[in-house]
Amino acid sequence: MADLTTDFLGIKSPNPFWLASAPPTDKEYNVRRAFEAGWGGVVWKTLGSEGPPVVNVNGPRYGAIYGADRRLLGLNNIELITDRPLEVNLEEITRVKADYPDRAMIVSIMVPCEEQAWKDILPRVAATGADGIELNFGCPHGMSERGMGAAVGQVPEYIEMVTRWCKQYYDKPVIVKLTPNITDVRKPAAAAMRGGADAVSLINTINSITSVNLDTMSPEPSIDGKGSHGGYCGPAVKPIAMSMVSEIARHPDTHGLPISGIGGITTWRDAAEFISLGCGNVQVCTAAMTYGFKIVEEMKSGLSQWMDEKGYTSVEEVVGRAVPNVTDWQYLNLNYVAKAKINQDDCIKCGRCYAACEDTSHQAIAMSEDRTFTVIDEECVACNLCVDVCPVEDCITMEAMEPGEVDPRTGKVVEKEYANWTTHPNNPGAVAAE
C-alpha cells in the first residue's frame, strides 16, 4: 500500500483528500462525519466578521446539469458564506480539531478589505488550533456584490494587500483561494505570492446559469421567479481547473508555489491528474455533495493502487510530474504523425465515428454495406474525434507512424526529428533552425 500521507505547507494529513470550504464543512456535525469517513482534512466553510451573520435565500440554492442517466455533471450554487454566528463556528472548530489532531483543519475567511477586519478575526481563528487559513477571494455570487470574494480575487493588488495583512497577523500557513472568473489566473497567483502566501488553492466556482425554466422564463435555481448567476462546480469544471493549475505550475514566476487543487475532482484518477499537474493535495466538494462522504474510500484505494502499480511510494513523488509536459502549442512536434485505428473485434458498429468524421471532420472513415468501419489513412488527420465519440473505450486508438514511413495523406516521409511551428516554413515569424 502506497503511503498517502501528505505534508502540505507543514500541515500533515493522512491522505491528500480534503473537503473544500463549502456546505459540507459548515458545521461540526458534518465535519465529524467527514473525518469518521476518512477524509484527510477539511477547509471549514468561510467565516465572516463578528456580528449578525449573512442570510441565505430561503428557496433553492443549487442548479444542475446532467449527463446520461441523470448523472450530475455540473452543479451551481448561490449559497453565501456561513450563516451561523462566528463564535459558534469558532467553538466547533476548536472542539473538532482537538478531537482529530491528525487531520488538517483549515479555516476559510472572508471579511471586508479593511486591515482592521482581518486584524480582528485572525487571532480568534488562531485560537481554535486550526492548522492554517484559506482566504476566500473566489466566491462569485452575493459576497462579490459587497466587495468581497471574487471582487477581491479579480484585483491582484487587493490580493497582495490582504495576503500581506494575514501573514502579518497570523503565523500559520496562509492559502489564497483564487477565482477562475478572470482572464489570466497567473496574475492573481503572482499577487498572492508577492503578498507572502504559502500556497494558492484553485479554482473557486465559475459564474454560471445552469438552466432557464422555459415555463416561467426564470433562470434556475429560481427564487420567486428570478434567478442570479451562481458558482459552477462539479465534473464539468475539471478541465478548466486543471488548465489554470497547470498555468501557475509551469510559469517561471509562480512555479514552485504550492497548490491545493480544486475543481470537479470526483475520483482518484481526477485527484492523481491534479497532483501530477503540480497540486500538493486536492479539495473535493461536489462529489461529496453528490454521493456522500463515503466516496473518499474509493479515492484512497484507487490512488493507492495506482501508485503501487507505478512504483510511487509517496504522493510527494507524483506532484508536478506532468508539468514539464505542459507546453505552448507552438512547441508541439509537428513531425509527429498518427492515424486512427479501429479495432474490429471491439467495434459494436454504432457508426458514431463515421457520422462524426463524415459530417463534421475529414471524411476519413469508410462504411461498408455490412457496417464495417475502417479508417482511410489518406484522409485521416488524427484529430481524435472518432476516439472521443466512440462508446467503447480503446476500440479506436491513435497509432503513431514510425519515422521513415510515408504519410499517405501528405505523401511525405515521417521525420524522426522534432520540429515545431517556430521553425515551420509556413510561419511568417519562423526562425531558422540551428
Binding site: 446520461a68 441523470r70 459494436i348 454504432c350 457508426g351 458514431r352 457496417r371 462508446p391
Partner: protein
Amino acid sequence: MSSPMTPGIAVARLPADALAENFTDLHAPFAPHEAAVAADRCYFCHDAPCVTACPTDIDIPLFIRQISTGTAEAAAKTIFDQNILGGMCARVCPTEDLCEQACVRELAEGKPVEIGRLQRFATDTLMAKQRHPYDRAPETGKKVAVVGAGPAGLACAHRLAMYGHDVTIYDAEAKAGGLNEFGIAAYKSTDDFAAREVDWLLGIGGITIKTGMGLGKELKMDDLVGCFPAVFLGVGLGGVNALHSDGEDKNGVDDAVDFIKELRQASDLTTFPVGRDVVVIGGGMTAVDAAVQSKLLGAQNVTIAYRRGRDAMSASRYEQDLAASKGVRLMFNAQPVAIHGNGAVREIELEYTSDDGNGLKGTGETIRLAADQVFKAIGQTLTTDGGLVLEGRKIAVTGAGRTSRDGVWAGGDCASGGDDLTVTAVAEGRDAAMDIHATLMGSN
C-alpha cells in the same frame, strides 16, 4: 371451485385474483423515470441497425432522443409517421428478432436498448391525450375499399384517408382489429387496447367500417372492383391446417386460434374453461400464445409438441423461454400420429422424429401424453383468394402489393412475401396505400 388438478376441461382452476394477476401486461409500461433511464442508453447510431431491422422503418434513434429530451409526443409522431399501429406493435412485435436484436448494445453487452417498451411509452403518452395527431388532406372524391380490418387494412385505410380519399373497410368479424383483436395473447394487449387503438386511428376521419362482410360471402370481388377504383385486400389467413391424425375429430381437440380468439373476447376469465393436461401441436407464436395462456388459466400440465428441433421453431427463443418460465414443457422432434379417447380426447400419441438431412422422418418410436385438451397450431391458410393468382398458398403480389388484377392490391398475411407479423402487415398496408394514392391521382 375447481383446481389445476381437476380432470377434464374445467372453469375456474384458479381464483379470480390469480387469473387477474396472470393476465396483466406481460411487460409493464415504463414509468417516466424508467423511460428516461432506458432512453439514455441509446447511442443514436448512424444509419442505425435497429431502423434497418424494423419492417416499418421507424426512426428509432430519433424517437428515443425525443423521449430523452422530454418530448414523448414528438417521439410518438415519429413512430406513427411510419407505423400508425405503433402502439400495438410496441406490445406484440418480436423485438428480440427485430430492432432489439440489431441494437448495437445487444452486440456490445447482450442488453439491447428496450426499444419496444420505449415505443409503448411514447405512443401511450400521445394516445392518452385522446387527440388524433394527423389531419386529412382535402377530400379527393376517390373511393377505396379495404377488405379486412386487421393491421394491414387499418394501416392502408389510415394512410389513404390521410391523403383525402374516402375509405370503406369491410370485415367479416363483428368487430374491427383483425388479429390485433382476436389473435394475440391477452397479456400482450390488455385493457381492450386493440379496440381503443382502432377508435383512435379512426379519428383521422374519412373511414367507414362495415362489419359482418366477408369476402366470398357477403362481398363479391367483381362487385368491389366494379364499385371502387381501388381495392385493398388484407384478409389474413382465415383457415387452419388440419393435423391429419387419427382421432382429430374427438371432443377437446380445438384450433388454437379459436381458443386465443375466445379468450381475448371473454369478459370473465373465471368462467373460461381449460383442460388439466393440455397439449399444443405446433412451433409458432400461436402455439406459444395458446400454451402460455392455458397455463395461466390454471392447466396443470401444458406441453408444446413440435415436430422439428428447437432451431426450426418459428417462435423466437424469447417466446420459447417465456413459455418455459410459465411452466410450459417444450417437446421437440415429436409429431402427432393419433389422438385417443372415447368421445373426448384422453391421450395424444406422438412419434419421435429425426432429420438426417433428407427431410423429417418418424423414427417409429411413439410416446403417449395424457391430454384432455389438444390445440392445433400448425399454421393458417388463405380461405378466399378472390380469383387472384396465387404464389404458393398466398395471393401473389409485386411491388407495393399489386395483385394479378388491376385495381386490386393485397398485403399482410394473405399476400406473398414478408413475415407474418403485425408490423410487416402494417408496412405492407401503408406501402400499398401510397401506391394506390399515386395510381388514383394519376402520377403512376
